[in-house]
């Protein structure tokens, strides 16, 4: 199947971004839990090509940081101790894609730590935490999307195909779920589940809650497709041969839902990632010490952190390229599925 150029472009971009996150262990120089109590809230490492004496090096390097005399959070560079940045270094062990044990990292600085995005209160490298946190946030969002779409497909297909009371009840239920503002609904469901859970449990909890809450809109869309497909003459013809409901669903109706589901996936995925980020930010999602884009931003709620350590805001920007990518994908998908439609991404689809 030949895909249009712009669709392929967006898919490539998204796959590349996800690949980087998936291989977080390789791209991140340090283990996300590795603390460095001697360098809390250190600013992003300055990468130099020219040293104090004025000579230029071909290889970039960083200076070791030390606290300024009489300060607790201001650092100065020790111009006598420089460490060149090396590539493909051996470092902390990790599992690539969760399976393959590895210890090569893309880059690192032998003698000292190179913190591209600074460090947090425990001296943990924010860049590494950003990449590893991305794994959790993105995966949670994607799992939630899969859950919501599966649920939506089942409910929508059942309601559309069987009609009558089943349809009426299921659609009223969907209406109830849509009657609440989505974040309040999320809160309502999260509120009554246990608060203190392990990071792994929290991951499944968040993915489950977000997915469970988001089935209503896909269900309505699938129902619409099923309803119109049901009335088509080729379905009638199949019934004329004595086809059972299941055969008709499988052969004729469900393939029609594929394009709707794909587009919904592209629209919902970033929304669900954002939901996880919001929950974790507020302390209702993935807890420390596991990194997530949400809890990386959490300590910004402290005034001192917000005002003094600007680099702690950077994880907020991590979401943006992904949102852009998914938005582009969704638009391209919609245009591919229905070229006559001028406006991509329907009302209320995003929030």
């Amino acid at each position: 199947m030949k895909l249009p150029r712009n669709l392929r472009a967006w898919i490539t971009v998204l796959v590349a971004m996800h690949a980087v996150i998936a291989c977080a262990g390789f791209f991140a120089p340090y283990d996300p839990a590795e603390q460095d109590r001697e360098h809390p809230y250190a600013p992003p490492s300055a990468i130099h090509f020219r040293d104090a004496s004025g000579s230029v090096h071909s290889r970039p390097f960083v200076y070791t940081l030390r606290l300024e005399a009489g300060s607790v959070d201001h650092y100065e560079e020790d111009t006598l101790a420089s460490s060149p940045i090396e590539f493909f270094v051996t470092g902390a062990r990790y599992r690539l894609l969760g399976i393959v044990p590895c210890s090569r990292h893309l880059f690192g600085a032998g003698g000292t730590r190179v913190a591209l995005l600074g460090t947090d209160g425990y001296g943990r490298d924010q860049f590494s935490r950003l990449l590893w946190g991305g794994q959790i946030s993105l995966l949670a969002g994607l799992v939630a999307t899969a859950l919501a779409l599966t649920c939506g497909l089942l409910v929508g297909a059942t309601a559309g195909f069987r009609g009558g009371w089943t349809d009426e009840i299921l659609m009223r239920l969907a209406e109830l779920f849509l009657a609440l503002p989505w974040l309040y609904l999320l809160f309502a469901v999260r509120a009554f589940l246990p608060l203190t859970v392990s990071p792994l449990e929290a991951f499944f909890l968040v993915a489950g809650v977000v997915g469970m809450v988001g089935w209503a809109r896909p269900a309505r869309l699938v129902r619409g497709v099923v309803l119109s497909a049901k009335e088509r003459d080729f379905v009638r013809a199949a019934r004329g041969f004595g086809a059972s409901g299941i055969y008709i669903l499988r052969r004729h109706i469900l393939p029609q839902t594929a394009s709707v589901l794909l587009t919904q996936a592209a629209i919902l995925a970033p929304q669900f990632v954002l939901a996880e980020v919001t929950l974790s930010f507020l302390g209702l999602g993935v807890p420390e010490p596991a990194p997530s884009w949400g809890n990386l931003l959490a300590n910004l709620q402290q005034y001192s952190v917000l005002t003094s350590y600007w680099w702690m805001l950077i994880p907020a920007l991590a979401l943006t390229p992904f949102f852009l990518g998914y938005l582009g994908l969704a638009s391209a998908l919609q245009r591919w599925a229905d070229p006559s439609k001028m406006e991509a991404v329907g009302p209320g689809a995003w929030r």
Binding site: A179, A316, E343
Partner: protein, 323 residues
């Protein structure tokens, strides 16, 4: 007319009832554990817990508990807050009023910007102003509310022009009327800005789409053929015809705005439903959570009902449908 109003009102009432049942059912997911976690809270005496368990009939079957709660609701009793040791109603009322203030003002501004911008953009479709607006809205669209709020907060801190959160300065009651008013406005500015920036992109896009749709239709082209001026065409004809989708959009935008207000209130310390609800969840304050969620639904359903009624008044086709 009254039949239609009655129908929509009954529908809204059923929705609210359904949502209350749904939230109550959620709370049933972990009833015992709820009170167990409360036991771990040193602020709440064990006798209180026991009394509350009895009063709220936690050991009774779910339908009974729901009936009891519903009965209380009808009498205006929204339950009891374990964390504050006070009835939920009055506290929620204050918070809800603050949220309502914020969302109403934000709604006015958001539509105030989005409507002209959308129309202007639609009118100049394909030309550079349209492209500019589309690019700007796309750029803003991508930024989540959370990030917007944090960014604005940072801006407030660094510029010093706006207070960094809260609803009023300390000791505001002692200020003169004008000073107090100015204080309020300053405190409102950033949260409203965050909300407006968050909802405007979607609104502009949809207003533009709705107007474009209408401008494309046959009767507009016929009117142009009659030589009616562009301005008159746009405002007297096109806008009127776009009322239907625009009013539906209003309902939709209300939902977005309410959800957005939740997170913005938390980040910017605006004393609305948001932070209150969050606190309640962390403190396992069951009835505050249920009450807060229900109240937000009341706003949303109420807003949609208002939009429906406005639609009925504005769109003769609906009146003719004899629904």
């Amino acid at each position: 007319m009254t039949r239609y109003v009655l129908r929509r009102a009954v529908h809204a009432a059923f929705l609210l009832l359904g949502v209350s049942l749904l939230t109550f059912l959620f709370s049933a997911l972990a009833p015992g554990r709820y009170f167990d976690e409360m036991k771990m809270n040193p602020q709440i005496a064990p006798e209180t817990i026991a009394a509350l368990r009895a009063q709220y009939g936690v050991d009774q079957p779910l339908p009974m508990r729901y009936a009891r709660w519903l009965d209380g609701l009808v009498r205006g009793d929204l339950g009891f807050s374990f964390a504050y040791n006070a009835p939920v109603g009055p506290m929620l009322r204050v918070r809800a009023a603050n949220t309502l203030l914020l969302t109403t003002i934000a709604m006015l501004f958001a539509w105030g910007f989005a409507l002209p911008l959308g129309i202007w953009s639609a009118e100049r479709e394909g030309r550079w102003p349209d492209h500019l607006v589309t690019a700007a809205t796309a750029a803003l669209f991508i930024v989540p509310d959370l990030v917007l709020a944090l960014g604005l907060l940072l801006f407030a801190v660094h510029s010093g022009w706006f207070p960094a959160g809260g609803m009023a300065a300390v000791g505001a009651e002692s200020l003169s009327w004008t000073a107090r008013g100015r204080d309020y406005v300053l405190h409102l500015a950033l949260p409203v800005a965050a909300l407006v920036l968050g909802t405007c992109p979607m609104l502009v896009r949809h207003v533009r789409a709705a107007i474009l749709d209408v401008l494309d239709s046959g009767f507009i082209r016929a009117a142009r053929g009659h030589g009616i001026s562009r301005r008159r065409l746009l405002f007297c004809y096109a806008l009127r015809a776009a009322t239907n989708p625009l009013l539906s959009l209003f309902g939709l935008s209300l939902g977005t705005l309410l959800s957005g207000s939740l997170i913005i209130e938390v980040v910017m310390s605006w004393p609305g439903l948001g932070p209150f609800l969050l606190e309640a969840i962390l403190a396992r304050d069951l009835y505050v959570v249920i009450g807060g969620v229900l109240l937000s639904t009341v706003f949303l359903v109420g807003g949609n009902l208002a939009a429906d009624l406005l639609l009925y008044w504005a769109d003769p086709r609906i009146r003719a449908e004899r629904v």
